[in-house]
Point group: C2
Chain length 690, copies 2
C-alpha cells in the first residue's frame, strides 16, 4: 500500500531535541515525575478518592522543588519562569487534574501573591504556598461574570475605624464559581473584588482571604458549596464561595498596583484605573502560556498512542488475499492523523516562541509595554487555537483507535474530557481571538487605537487605548505582498515555503484591511449603531485573528526547520521537517482554498494541486510516523495506554500462528466460498460444453 | 444588536409536528417515560450503581410494553418497526446508557432472535427477551475484528455424534469484546461464529449460547471479563467473552438463513455464501437506523439547553453603557449555534425518510433487494454523518455555555461523552462512508459492479457483485446539470433552492465521475497495484460519499419545507423553514466553496455573497431561536439542565435589583474611572487656558 516505500532514516532524538527546546531539561525531569505512581490518579469515578490522589500529586510536585523555579533568587528561586512553566506543562502526562490543581495552587494562588503582593506578603504566604503547606484558591470568576473580569460584583469595602476590608457577595450571581481547591482543600483564597474606600470604587483588586480553619471548617461568614461532578478534571475540587461581610486586615490587600493607607487614602503607581487593571491581569498571563503548552503535551500523548496502535492494527485484506492491511497504510487513516502530527509540531515550536517572550518579560530582560503586549497577544491566540486543536486531535485519535479508543485504560477519552474545559477557562477562546483581532486592527491603523464600541470590544479596547501599539509585523507584510506575488513566485512549486508564507500572510493582511474599511464609519456613529456595525463584523474579526495566529505558528515551524539548513549530517531530519512544514502550510491553505482563489492569490490550476500534494505528503510522512511520535519523548510509563505497547501485535501473532498450525491439520475445513466458486465455474463450463 | 428586529411569529407546535413526523405519538409516549425518575440515572461515578440503575430503566421500558411494537402480530406485536425505533430513540433523553443497554437487549439480542430465528426459537426466547426476563448479549465484535465481521475468529464446529455445536475462542484476539450486558447482567448471548460442519466452513452464523446460570455465575467454559471504565455509557456493563469448547444443542443455531441437519448436512435458502452473509447482516440494520435517530435526539437536547441559556445569559456591555448584551445577540454566537439548529432540522427530517424506508422493508411492504439496498445505504450514510454532527453540536453547545457547560448537572458533557462511541460502533463511520461511496461508484457505472480490490472495498464489494444495483438517482442528476447551469439559473439569487440543489448535486456527480475515471484502470491491474490505486482515492471516495449524503439530507429538508406551500395560515413557519433550508444549504456550499469555484459552478462574485448571506440568515433565525428549540418538544423534565430553566435570568434580576437599590443610597461609591476622566479633561482645559 501507500506508506512503506523507502521511508527516511531519521533519529527521533534529533527531532525530540528540537521539540523539547531550550527548557528540555525541566521537561524531562517533569516527565520522570509524571511517571511516578505517586502522581498517577487511581482508576475510579469516586470524587473523594480522585481529589485526595490529586492532592498527593500536588504535594509530590512541591516536594520535588520544581515549584520554586520561578521564585526570585532572593526567595531561593531561580527567576526561571519559562523553565518552571515548561516543566509544569508536562504534569498533564500524570493527569490534567494534577496540572490544573497544581496550576491553581502554584501558578494562580502562589503566582498572584508573588506578582501582586509585597515583600512582607511574600515572606508570610509565598513560601507556604509554593511548598504546598498553605493550600489556596484563586477566586476571580463569578457565576455572573467569567471573561468580563472588570464587571465582578464582589466588593471589598475599607473600614478605616477597624483598618479592615469587608468582603461581601452582594447578590447570588457574584458568588465565586468553579473555584479550584475550594470544595475540599483550600485554606485561603486570593479574592478579586471591587475595592471601595472613601466613597470611591477603585475597580478590581486582589485580597488574601482565609476561608477555612485548621480543621477544614469554613470560617465565619464564608459559605462553600461543592460544584460536584464535571465533564472532566474530576480530581479538582471545584466549588462556589460566598462572603457575608468577612473582615480581613488592611494588609491583606495585595498592594503592588494599588494600596490603601490606614486612613483610607488610596494610592497607586499607575494613575489610569483602566491601565492599572490590565497591568494587574497581565501578571496572570502565565496561566494562558501554560495551557498552551499543556494542550501541546496532551496532543502529543494522544498522537503517540494512536500512531503506535495504527502501526500495528490491521483490518481488511487489500493487496494480498490473506494479510490484512495495517491501518496506517490506508490513505484515509494517513489523512486523519498526519496533518494533526504536523499541527502538533507547529504548536510545539510556536509554544517555544511564546515561552521565550514570557521569559523575556517575566525575568525582567524586557518588560516594556510593547513586549508585554506581544506576549499577551501571543498567549491569547496560541492558547485559543492550541486548546481547540488538542480537543480535535484527541477526538480523532480516539476514533482512529475504534472501540479500544473508548476504553478508559487507553486514556484518550479521559484526556479529552479533562482538556475540554481548557477552551473556555483562563479566557474563553472566542473572546481571546477577539482580543487578538482587536489588536490587529489597532496595529493596522491609528484610528482604531481608541476603538471602544460594541460588546467585547469595549472590554478589550480599554488597555490598548493608552498603550503604544505592539507590532504584529502586518505593515511589513502589506508592503511585500505586491513584490512577492510576481509571475516568478507564481511559477514556484506548490511546496515552496515562500509561496505558503505569502498566501498565509496576504490573507491576514487583506482580511484586516477589509475589516478596517468596514468598521471605519463606526467612529462617527451613535454608540448603538457602532455596536451593531461592530457586531456584524465579529465573525470576520475572529477569522482574521485565527488566520494571523496560524501564520505565526507556521512561521515558528518554518524557522525551526531552517535551523537544520547547516546541519548536513541530519539531511533526512531536515527533509522530514520540510514535509511537516509543507503539510501544515498546505493544510491551512486548503482549509481556506476558496478565499485564496476568490482573492486571486491562487489560480484554479494551482489550487487543484493542493489536495493531491497533501495526500502525497501524508503518505510520505506516514512512512516515518513511528519516529515522528517517538520524538515526543514519552515512554510506556508516561503513555500508560494498553493498546500502545504491542498488545495488538502480540494478539495478531498468536492468531497468525493459530491459523498456520490449523491449516496444516488434515481436518482444516474448506471454505464454502471456494466450493461455491468451483461449482459455478463447473456449471458454466458444462453449459458452454453443451 | 443584530437579533431582535421583528422576528417572525411562529408556533413551535406546528414545527414540532413536522419534526416529530409520522411516529409522533410513539415519540411523545417515550419522552414521557424518559422523564420518569425510574429511567433517570443517579448522579454518581460508581459503575455498580450506574449499571443497576440502567438495568432498572431497561425493565421499566419493557414494562411499558413499547418493546413489543416491532413483534409480528402473531406474537402480540404490531409489526410497527419504525414506531418502535422512533420511540426507542427518545430514551436518549433519559440517558444514552439506557438507550444502548435497551438497544442491546431488545434491538440486538431480541432482534437477532426475531430476524434470524425460527418459530420455535421465537416461542422459546423472544417473549422473555422482549419482556426483559431473559437478559442477553449480542456477541459479534471481537478484539481482532470490528467492522470486518466476515473475518471473525470464533468457531462453532458441529459434532454430529452429540448433535451439538462446540463454540470456541481459538486465540485471544477472537474473544468477543465491548459486549454490552456481558460484564454483569446477561444470561445468554447471540454469538456470531464461523459455522463448520462436515469439513466445510460456511461462514459467520448466529448461535444462542447461555453464558450465566441463574445465580449469575459464568457457565463452565465461559470466561467473562469486565471492560471497566469507559469514556461514557458508564451505565452499560460492557465485557469480554471467551468460549472454551462450550457445547450447545444443534437447535441453538438461529437458522433462518442457514441450517444444519442432525447428520451435519448444511442447507440454506441462499446459495451464495457471500449474499447469505450480507442478508443476515442486513437484518441488523435497525441498529444503525436507531443510532441516527438517537443522535438527532441528543443534538436537539444540547441545542435546547444552549439556546435557552444563550437567550438569558448576558456578557459585556455594547450598545448601552449599563445593559450587558444577551449572548444570542452576538454574531459569533449566532454563527456558532444557528447553522447547527438548521443541520439538526435537516438530520431530523432526513431521519424520517430513513424511518419510512425502514418501515417499508421490515413491514414487508417492499422488501425487494433494491429497497433493502437503498435502506442500507441511507442507514450507513445518515448514521455516520448524524453521529459526527451530534458530537460537534454537543461540543459547541457546551462551549457556548462556558464553564456552566462543563458542569455535569447541565448534561452537555455527559451527553457528549456517551455519544462519543456512536461514531465507531455499529459500523465505524469512516467504513460506513466508504460503503456509501462504493455504491455510488457501482451505480455510476456497470464496470464497478464487480469491484473487488483494495482494503475495505473487498469487504464492501461482495454483496453488490451479486445484487441488482440500487438507484442513487445520480444518473438523473448527470443529465440535468447541463440544463440547469444555464445563464437563467446563474441569475437566480443565492437563496434559490434550485441553485442550492444544482450545486450540491452537481458536486456529487462530478466527484463520482472523477473517481470512476481514476479507478477505471484498476480492472486491468494486478491485485496489489489495484489495491494501491484504490487506496490513493480513498479520501476522495469518503468525501464523495459525504457530499451525496448531505445532498439527500438537504433534499429531505427541502421537501419538508415544501409541504407548507399550500398552508397559507402558516406563512411565518414556512418562511422560517425556508431560512433553515437556505442556511443548511449555504453552509454546505460554503464548506466546499473552493470546489464550487474551481469547478466553475459558482462565479467568484456569487461565491462572495455566500458568507454574508449566512450571517444574515443566522441573525434572522436567531430572532426565533427560542421557538426553534421549543419545537423539539422537550420540557424541563426532559432537559434536566439547571441552566436551561431560568436560573440565569433570576440571578440577573437579583443583581439588577441590587444595583438599583445601591445606586439610590447616598453612600454609593463613585467610579474612579469617572473621576479620572474628569481630572484629565480638567487638566486639558487648564493647559489650553494657559
Amino acid at each position: 500500500m501507500t506508506r512503506t516505500k523507502a521511508p527516511l532514516t531519521i533519529d527521533p532524538e534529533v527531532l525530540g531535541e528540537l521539540l523539547d527546546g531550550r527548557w528540555a531539561a525541566q521537561r524531562r525531569r517533569a516527565r520522570a515525575l509524571a511517571a511516578d505512581p505517586a502522581t498517577v490518579p487511581p482508576d475510579t469515578g469516586d470524587l473523594g478518592e480522585l481529589r485526595e490522589a490529586t492532592l498527593s500529586g500536588v504535594k509530590a510536585l512541591a516536594a520535588s522543588g520544581s515549584t520554586r523555579l520561578a521564585l526570585p533568587e532572593s526567595r531561593g528561586g531561580r527567576n526561571d519562569h519559562a523553565g518552571y512553566v515548561a516543566g509544569f506543562e508536562e504534569t498533564v502526562v500524570a493527569s490534567p487534574s494534577l496540572q490544573v490543581k497544581a496550576g491553581v495552587q502554584f501558578g494562580l494562588f502562589g503566582g498572584a501573591i508573588q506578582h501582586l503582593g509585597n515583600a512582607e506578603q511574600h515572606a508570610q504566604w509565598l513560601e507556604p504556598a509554593q511548598s504546598g503547606a498553605l493550600l489556596g484558591c484563586f477566586a476571580m470568576t463569578e457565576i455572573g461574570h467569567g471573561s468580563d473580569v472588570a464587571s465582578l460584583g464582589t466588593t471589598a469595602v475599607y473600614d478605616p475605624a477597624a483598618e479592615e476590608f469587608v468582603i461581601r457577595t452582594p447578590f447570588p450571581a457574584a458568588a465565586k464559581e468553579y473555584i479550584g481547591n475550594a470544595a475540599a482543600h483550600g485554606r485561603a483564597a486570593i479574592v478579586f473584588a471591587q475595592l471601595v474606600t472613601a466613597g470611591v470604587d477603585h475597580g478590581v483588586h486582589a485580597f488574601f482571604v482565609p476561608i477555612r480553619d485548621e480543621s477544614g471548617r469554613p470560617l465565619p461568614g464564608i459559605t462553600i458549596e461543592d460544584d460536584g461532578r464535571k465533564g472532566g478534571l474530576l480530581g479538582v475540587d471545584n466549588g462556589r464561595l460566598s462572603f457575608d461581610g468577612v473582615r480581613i486586615p488592611r494588609t491583606h490587600l495585595l498592594n503592588r498596583y494599588g494600596d490603601v493607607a490606614a486612613d483610607g487614602t488610596y494610592s497607586s503607581p499607575i494613575d489610569s484605573p483602566g491601565r492599572r487593571f490590565f497591568t494587574m491581569l497581565g501578571t496572570l498571563v502565565q496561566g494562558r502560556v501554560s495551557l498552551d503548552g499543556a494542550a501541546v503535551v496532551a496532543s502529543k500523548l494522544g498522537l503517540d498512542i494512536a500512531v503506535r496502535y495504527g502501526l500495528q492494527r490491521r483490518q481488511f485484506t487489500g493487496a494480498s488475499d490473506t494479510d490484512e492491511v495495517v491501518l496506517m497504510d490506508y490513505q484515509q487513516h494517513q489523512r486523519r492523523l498526519m496533518p494533526l502530527i504536523a499541527e502538533t509540531y507547529a504548536n510545539a515550536l510556536a509554544h517555544e516562541v511564546l515561552l521565550e517572550s514570557f521569559q523575556r518579560v517575566f525575568s525582567g530582560e524586557d518588560d516594556s509595554d510593547e513586549a508585554r503586549q506581544v506576549l499577551e497577544t501571543q498567549a491569547a491566540g496560541f492558547k485559543a487555537t492550541t486548546t481547540w486543536a488538542a480537543l480535535d486531535i484527541l477526538q480523532e485519535c480516539r476514533e482512529a483507535c475504534g472501540g479500544a479508543g473508548f476504553m478508559s485504560e487507553n486514556r484518550l477519552t479521559g484526556l479529552r474530557g479533562d482538556l475540554d474545559v481548557y477552551v473556555t477557562f483562563e479566557g474563553d477562546n472566542t473572546v481571546l481571538l477577539q482580543l487578538v483581532g482587536k489588536r490587529l486592527l489597532q496595529d493596522y491603523s491609528a484610528e482604531f487605537k481608541n476603538i471602544d464600541f460594541g460588546g467585547v470590544a469595549r472590554f478589550l479596547g480599554t488597555q490598548a487605548a493608552e498603550h503604544s501599539l505592539y507590532r504584529s509585523g502586518l505593515a511589513n507584510v502589506g508592503r511585500t505582498i505586491g513584490e512577492l506575488l510576481t509571475p516568478a513566485l507564481n511559477e514556484k512549486r506548490i511546496r515552496s515555503g515562500k509561496l505558503q508564507q505569502v498566501l498565509l500572510s496576504s490573507r491576514v493582511d487583506a482580511m484586516v484591511a477589509d475589516l478596517a474599511g468596514r468598521l471605519r464609519p463606526a467612529a462617527k456613529m451613535s454608540q448603538a449603531a457602532a455596536a451593531e456595525l461592530f457586531n456584524e463584523q465579529q465573525h470576520e474579526l475572529v477569522n482574521a485573528a485565527r488566520a494571523y495566529i496560524e501564520l505565526l505558528k507556521w512561521e515558528a515551524l518554518n524557522q525551526a526547520m531552517h535551523t537544520f539548513d547547516d546541519r548536513p549530517e541530519h539531511a533526512d531530519e531536515a527533509k522530514t521537517l520540510r514535509r511537516i512544514r509543507d503539510l501544515y502550510g498546505l493544510t491551512l491553505i486548503e482549509r481556506n482554498i476558496g478565499w485564496h482563489i476568490m482573492y486571486g492569490r491562487l489560480s484554479m490550476n494551482r489550487a487543484r494541486q493542493v489536495g493531491p500534494t497533501i495526500n502525497r505528503l501524508c503518505a510520505k510522512l506516514a512512512g516515518n510516523a513511528g519516529e515522528l511520535v517517538a520524538a515526543f519523548g514519552y515512554g510506556p510509563e508516561q503513555r500508560r495506554a494498553t493498546i500502545a505497547e504491542g498488545i495488538e501485535q502480540q494478539r495478531q501473532d498468536e492468531a497468525r500462528e493459530h491459523y498456520r498450525q490449523a491449516r496444516a491439520r488434515a481436518d482444516y475445513p474448506v471454505d464454502e466460498k471456494v466450493l461455491y466458486q468451483q461449482k459455478r465455474q463447473q456449471s458454466r463450463q458444462e453449459s458452454s460444453a453443451r
